[in-house]
């Protein structure tokens, strides 16, 4: 089946294309795009006044299945993605049981085939049972479709184990994603150590708990030649370290999340559990450093760390509430509004942070508009002004600090493999 999307403002960050054109989809691929392009066999879709760009790739998502289906499932999580213009996600392995073997990866693939509506690339754990002790079978998980490995949610505390993981990963060249946290410094801590933790009478997580492990993993990546990817970078010192080691040629990549760019520890005021995440929200200075890190390429991409938790989970005494917020449905509107204001980048460069760049980090197809590329794309209506309303989320969870934020522009349609997956029929 062929589809011709006509008169869209076509934005492709990889080739820096920005032009009103027609785009022809043939089956699950992009066939061609050009002004005035036509095809007698194609079903025509008019996109006058709309933008068309590659579907977003979110390399840090918790779909919670198996084990925490009360928070999210592959069905609800991928629908949230589609509604947010995200056509591919990497799903984290800290499920119950954790995805630490081939069977687990296959389970994800089967559930995605049955219930998913966007592409899902499983991440496997780096250690068996996420216990930080024994190396998980990376090879057989890669065969089953795993694209990266991480004990995300729990850092690998044993340095020798981390060294072995990185050494071993070089057989495959697959990225190892570091959840950079020194747990000995964050035990029983629930927010950033800073002015706000003093005000709320809480013992905070020192920023050094993050940067110390970043330093360690950079050193180990340098020694082993492995590809280390840093999840959810949140501090200034982390950015400085990554920049320094990248310049020395260490194979390191890094992501940050929208909330670290847009919020500070102040958001925790009043024991707001929707501002509780790990790493915790930091300070204005860190925000500025993250912006600088994005602008100079130290930070490669933006990922949401979509971490759904039910209302019941979050509506608890602050220290009892779990870490994390949802992000799939707010990523694109925030990117093209509040994040744009922060980064002051052109649209192509902004989109690059959530399309071709994350694809490159995780070595995934997609993220580009090119003949022969997967027909995963977003049609965006730049005009409507609206307000983020968590009650309208397709995700099973509502834990967002961005409820009520005003934004402009809305996902008009999302295509995965040439098929419209959003709006839902």
């Amino acid at each position: 089946m062929k589809t011709l999307i006509q008169n869209a403002r076509v934005l492709d960050p990889a080739s820096r294309t920005d032009q009103v054109m027609n785009v022809l989809l043939d089956g699950d691929r992009i066939a061609a795009f050009a002004p005035g392009l036509s095809d007698p066999e194609a079903v025509c879709v008019d996109a006058t006044g709309l933008w068309l760009f590659p579907g977003l790739i979110d390399i840090h998502v918790h779909l919670r299945e198996p084990g925490f289906e009360g928070k999210e499932t592959i069905y609800t999580g991928t629908r949230a993605a589609a509604a947010g213009g995200v056509t591919a996600v990497c799903c984290m392995a800290n499920t119950n049981p954790p995805i630490d073997n081939k069977t687990g990866v296959e389970f994800i693939q089967e559930r995605v085939a049955k219930t998913g509506c966007v592409r899902v690339y499983p991440i496997g754990t780096v250690t068996k049972g996420m216990e930080g002790k024994e190396l998980a079978p990376l090879g057989e998980m890669i065969e089953a479709g795993a694209v990266g490995f991480s004990d995300d949610g729990r850092g690998v505390m044993d340095t020798q184990v981390m060294r072995r993981i990185l050494e071993y990963s070089t057989i495959f060249g697959t990225p190892i994603i570091s959840h950079e946290e020194d747990h000995s410094m964050t035990e029983n801590c629930h927010m950033n150590e800073g002015q706000m933790s003093v005000k709320l009478g809480m013992i905070g997580m020192p920023r050094e708990a993050e940067t110390i492990i970043i330093a360690r993993d950079l050193i180990l990546a340098g020694k082993t030649g492995a590809h280390i990817h840093f999840a959810h970078v949140s501090t200034k010192e982390s950015v400085d370290l990554i920049r320094f080691y990248k310049n020395k040629g260490v194979k390191a990549t890094a992501e940050t999340a929208p909330h670290y760019l847009l919020l500070t520890e102040e958001a925790v005021e009043g024991f707001n559990t929707n501002a509780k995440m790990n790493p915790p929200l930091r300070t204005r200075e860190d925000q500025d450093a993250l912006v600088e890190g994005i602008l100079d390429g130290t930070i490669d991409c933006i990922a949401t760390d979509h971490a759904p938790h039910s209302v019941y989970d979050k509506d608890q005494e602050f220290p009892l509430a779990p870490f994390g917020i949802v992000g799939l449905e707010t990523l694109l509107p925030l990117l093209l509004n509040q994040i744009q204001e922060k980064l002051k980048l052109d649209v192509l460069s902004l989109l690059s942070l959530v399309t071709n760049k994350p694809a490159r980090v995780m070595r995934l197809p997609g993220g580009v508009l090119a003949p022969g590329a997967p027909a995963d794309l977003v049609v965006w209506n730049p005009d409507p002004k609206w307000t983020i309303e968590k009650s309208r989320f397709y995700s099973k969870s509502r834990n967002t600090p961005f409820d009520g934020w005003p934004v402009q522009g809305k996902v008009h349609a999302t295509y995965v493999a040439g098929k419209p997956v959003y709006p839902f029929t």
Binding site: K199, G201, M202, I203, E317
Partner: protein
């Protein structure tokens, strides 16, 4: 006329000078009641105060219990061991069960920071924080300020040195907020492991040398040092802590003449405070305990018999405050 408008007393961080003065002034009247032969007034007759304690406490619990009974309220004591908390009920659910049984005020002590704030948001009843985790213990700070004011007449411009575990110290935190609001100068002193440098941003002075911290102080408030901190490497031994941060008569000489020595109790004699200092003329430690009743009576009165109570249960109008005075 000054009125109390808050539903709860959760902490002193955002409480104004007027509000603190109202509590302290009300407490003065309450203290006067304590010097009468009949120490009980009917103000809260027919009201129910529940003491919901998720952490062991003798002094604070007894003090609240006596305060409530002297105002003629009925008091229910709940401690974790006997509550349904062990059965997995949430704090909010427990509190709602108490509410529908006719409770008028919940006095909550909890090991979890922010627990009273969470509860207060989810229940219409007044909640009094009797200590939450590492955050605040507002009634202790109010009784400390009451005691200081009784002796010094004012808090404005006084130098108050607070010594000990400031990091985990809810008494220290509430004192910091209250004293700063009331115009006092606050010094925190303790080992760097137990005094957070960020406290400086709140407007207090940080000391690690006890002698320097005592120099010129009007008040010295010695916090109880908890032995369990030792195992987490906050300091190596009680003996060493005592040597560096224990208050001796010798050290006390550096303070201003007429210095008040305070302690929220229970005291560890010869650990943070030497026995002779605790028993000296400078010590007002037992006065603090006495004043605790007056301050807690004042708070209960302000929170429970306030304006919001006007229309219901009016066949028996609670006596006005003025009438108690008269």
């Amino acid at each position: 006329m000054r009125v109390w408008r808050r539903k709860d007393c959760l902490g002193l961080r955002d409480v104004s000078r007027d509000e603190i003065e109202l509590v302290l002034d009300t407490a003065r009247t309450m203290k006067e009641i304590q010097s009468r032969t009949i120490k009980k007034v009917p103000t809260l007759r027919g009201k129910v105060a529940v003491l919901l304690f998720y952490e062991p406490s003798t002094r604070t619990r007894t003090s609240f219990e006596l305060s409530a009974t002297r105002l003629s309220a009925d008091v229910v004591n709940i401690e974790t061991a006997t509550s349904s908390v062990v059965k997995g009920e949430t704090l909010v659910d427990t509190a709602h069960n108490l509410r529908v049984m006719g409770t008028d005020v919940i006095i909550l002590r909890h090991s979890i920071t922010g627990a009273p704030h969470h509860l207060a948001e989810h229940i219409e009843l007044p909640v009094i924080n009797a200590g939450d985790g590492t955050n605040e213990h507002p009634t202790q700070a109010l009784l400390d300020m009451f005691t200081i004011r009784e002796h010094k007449g004012t808090l404005d411009g006084l130098v108050v040195t607070i010594v000990g575990d400031v990091l985990h110290g809810r008494v220290a935190h509430s004192n910091m907020w209250g004293l700063l609001t009331m115009g006092a100068k606050v010094r925190f002193c303790g080992p760097p492991t137990l005094v957070n440098p960020q406290m400086k941003d709140m407007g207090v002075e940080i000391y690690h040398d006890l002698d320097a911290a005592i120099e010129g102080a009007d008040v010295i408030n010695m916090l109880r040092i908890q032995k369990e901190r030792m195992t987490r490497n906050f300091f190596p031994s009680i003996k060493e802590y005592s040597r560096i941060y224990g208050l001796t008569m010798e050290r006390l000489k550096r303070a201003k003449p007429g210095v008040l020595v305070m302690h929220p109790g229970p005291i560890n004699r010869n650990v943070e405070i030497m026995s002779d200092v605790a028993d000296s003329d400078s010590s007002v430690i037992l006065e603090q305990v006495t004043n605790g009743i007056a301050v807690r009576m004042a708070l209960l009165y302000l929170l429970v018999s306030g304006e919001k109570e006007s229309s219901k249960k009016l066949d028996e109008t609670p006596p006005l405050f003025e009438e108690i005075n008269g």
